[in-house]
């Protein structure tokens, strides 16, 4: 190979690497375009610091659920019970701390509330993980069953709003900076863990090919249990933030959040088939969903009854972009001989 060919080869190699990197981080240019569009057509959405803060604050619980779903997706699994865990853990803890017709009202300790809600999430996550990894249940069926059980248990426990929760307990969700800080902190922490630790690499390995991961010595069962435990913990934390944001525990808490969480992860570039994607991308997905939702709400051109339909189209467009990205990626990998 002469010098000219080497230079051309290196140029294409660099271009391909750049393209692959761009595809892996596609959410950010998309987000930038959407923000420009919002600034052009619905500028009042981002007109003030308080409006921007509200978008992040209200989206904080969804952010944690997207993170929970992203981690399970990266491991090649998924968790349908995240919203139900958030709702059940918040209701159970609310009944221990708060006031309602049949509340237990055992304590007014915020600390106890934090410990309790997280322990509930952790225990449910461990059970999900053990049933999937050790008993061998299908993740769809296991987490669907828990979705139904937990939502049913929440209704069986309480059908009235739980009020008069300790001020300290609702503080993380009712204070914008704490809620936003918690979520950003969680994304940064998991971004680092997933990229730079053996655990993170093991999650990607299990998500890419569980058998291959097992053959190189990764304890796949332990990884799966850990992933579901993390998912349970993050979901419970989301329940805590929802409680604080609303100020009470409403009977339907945590419902209707599952599909948004999936959408956030997928829009953020996390593969539905495991092993690929970044949690930082998922953060971009959450921000994108929240900005679009708020802009639709703010737009005088869109009727209230049209918003859900338009949300659906936005999701569809994101999925189409995702599919296109996958195809381009496969083509580039085939060209460079780095096919998976």
């Amino acid at each position: 190979m002469n010098g000219e060919n080497i230079v051309i080869g290196r140029f294409f190699e660099d271009t391909d690497s750049l393209l692959l990197s761009l595809l892996d981080n596609m959410i950010w240019p998309i987000l930038a375009i959407v923000i420009l569009g919002v600034l052009a057509f619905v500028p009042q959405t981002l007109a003030s610091a308080s409006s921007i803060q509200l978008i992040f604050w209200a989206g904080a619980p969804l952010g944690l659920l997207v993170l929970a779903e992203s981690v399970t997706l990266l491991s090649g699994h998924f968790d349908l019970s995240i919203g139900a865990i958030a709702g059940f853990s918040a209701m159970f803890t609310g009944m221990v701390l708060g006031n309602c017709p049949s509340c237990w009202n055992y304590s007014d300790s915020a600390l106890l509330g934090f410990v309790l809600i997280l322990v509930i999430g952790l225990v449910i996550g461990v059970v999900n993980g053990v049933m999937i990894a050790k008993v061998g249940l299908n993740p769809f069926l296991q987490t669907l069953a828990f979705l139904i059980i937990l939502e049913g248990a929440k209704t069986a426990m309480q059908t009235q709003p739980v009020t008069e929760l300790p001020v300290g307990y609702i503080l993380p969700g009712s204070t914008a900076l704490i809620a936003i800080g918690l979520v950003l902190g969680a994304f940064i922490a998991f971004g680092v863990v997933m990229k730079y630790t053996r655990f993170g690499q093991a999650v990607y390995a299990v998500g890419s090919d569980a058998n291959a991961a097992r053959e190189v010595g990764i304890n796949t069962d332990r990884i799966i249990i850990a992933v579901y435990t993390i998912s349970g913990l993050l979901s419970a934390l989301a329940g805590l933030l929802i409680t604080g944001f609303i100020g009470i525990v409403p009977p339907l808490i945590g419902e209707n959040l599952l599909f948004q969480a999936f959408a956030g992860a997928v829009i953020g570039g996390v593969s539905l088939f495991g092993g690929r994607g970044k949690v930082t991308g998922a953060l971009g997905g959450v921000i994108l969903i929240e900005i679009i939702q708020t802009a639709l709400d703010n737009s005088p051109a869109i009727e209230a009854t049209q918003i859900q339909m338009i949300n659906g189209f936005v999701l569809l467009i994101a999925i189409l972009l995702y599919a296109t990205q996958e195809r381009i990626r496969e083509r580039v990998l085939a060209r460079t001989g780095r096919g998976e």
Partner: protein, 381 residues
């Protein structure tokens, strides 16, 4: 324009005077900061509930347009969290007031308090808030609606089945977690409990849904003896019950010995003709298309009087059509709001704030085709 009656006018005039003096003295008390005119209104509401909620929401838009008020309606998407976000967003922007159909009692409290603190008045309609700070809530009493349905049921049973005592009736109720469903069911049950001639053989939870009511009623009747009467807690469940009886060949007009007495909450474009035909004995209807116009008129009054509670009728008073009117307008082929079916309204206190408790209408064969029933107006759309 609406008018607020002599007593209200004097009070309002006094308030304007005091506000004027206060203005001359400057912002010594640190109050104020809100608009002095209602020009832009935010509204957060449920938008996917069928004809009833369409009438409720659309009336707000039509009335606001008549009054040259810009209105922005946002869907709560069945989420207290979404509603909290929207209320805060309205309060952060240039909205002069907020209308809230609260999705879950208590849930919007902190956001409503936040808006009120920013001098953006929040008026609740249809479903109340736990916030003590709202100037007024407008709506009928779900509990009394349930009671009225029970009384209509007893009246019909006495008239049509005097020799069938003790009467056995079914109670088809709405979702367990829903406050209005609980109150509608309880109002019905309490009247029934106080009467020795009737037994509620079963309360069935049909989740406010037509298909669930259809399925569960049909299953129950298949497995048990047919009841003498069935009460349904909303229009969807009532229509599900009618379909269940139709499927079982048990749907007969009143006057027929095989007729099962049906009473229910809510009229509708489908319910009203069934009442007219005698299939349904009575339905209790809300003046839903008045809720938001009443709230807007009161909010305008409240804002223009310097955000003063003096603009709101006193608790424990009765508001009649002579005291207060919602200006009618030509919409949807009728003179909308011309018949004050909301009156008389009782001013009560609920959750620490005034409650403009409207009257409710009993739909019977005699009035089922009248143009003041929302189902006969929005049904033509």
């Amino acid at each position: 324009m609406y008018n607020i009656g002599r007593r209200g006018f004097l009070r309002a005039a006094g308030t304007v005077g005091v506000a004027g003096i206060a203005g001359c003295l400057g912002d010594i008390a640190g109050s104020g900061g809100g608009s002095d005119k209602l020009k832009k209104l935010g509204m957060t509401s449920y938008v996917r509930g069928g004809a009833w909620i369409t009438a409720y929401n659309e009336a707000a838009k039509l009335y606001a347009k008549d009054q040259n008020i810009q209105i922005e309606v946002r869907p709560n998407q069945q989420s207290a969290q979404k509603q909290v976000k929207d209320i805060r967003d309205f309060a952060n922007k240039d909205f002069d007031g907020i209308l809230v159909g609260v999705w879950q009692t208590g849930a919007a409290k902190t956001a409503i308090d936040y808006a009120m603190k920013k001098n953006v008045p929040v008026f609740a309609t249809n479903a109340d808030t736990a916030s003590t700070n709202v100037p007024m809530y407008t709506g009928f009493s779900n509990y009394e609606g349930g009671e009225k349905c029970a009384k209509q049921m007893l009246k019909a049973l006495k008239a049509q089945k005097p020799n069938k005592k003790p009467w056995k009736v079914l109670n088809i109720r709405g979702s367990q977690g829903n406050q209005s469903a609980n109150q509608r069911s309880q109002g019905f049950l309490d009247v029934m409990k106080s009467n020795n001639d009737v037994t509620v053989v079963k309360t069935i939870n049909a989740d406010y849904a037509r298909d669930t009511a259809l399925e569960k009623t049909q299953e129950w009747i298949n497995a048990n003896k047919k009841p003498h009467g069935i009460y349904s807690g909303n229009l969807s469940m009532g229509l599900g019950v009618v379909q269940a009886l139709r499927n079982l060949n048990l749907l007969f007009k009143k006057g027929d010995s095989k007729h099962i007495v049906l009473t229910q909450m809510d009229g509708s474009p489908e319910v009203n003709p069934l009442v007219k035909q005698g299939m349904i004995d009575a339905a209790i209807d809300q003046p839903n298309y008045f809720y938001n116009p009443i709230a807007i008129a009161m909010m305008k009054q409240y804002i223009e009087n310097g955000h003063s509670m003096d603009a709101i009728p006193d608790v424990d008073s009765t508001v009649t059509a002579d005291d207060f009117t919602v200006k009618s307008g030509q919409h949807k082929g009728v003179d909308l709001w011309s018949e004050s079916i909301w009156a008389p309204a009782e001013m009560k206190e609920q959750n620490g704030h005034p409650w403009f408790k409207t009257n409710s209408i009993v739909i019977t064969q005699e009035n089922a085709d009248k143009p003041f029933l929302w189902g006969n107006v929005w049904g033509e759309a």
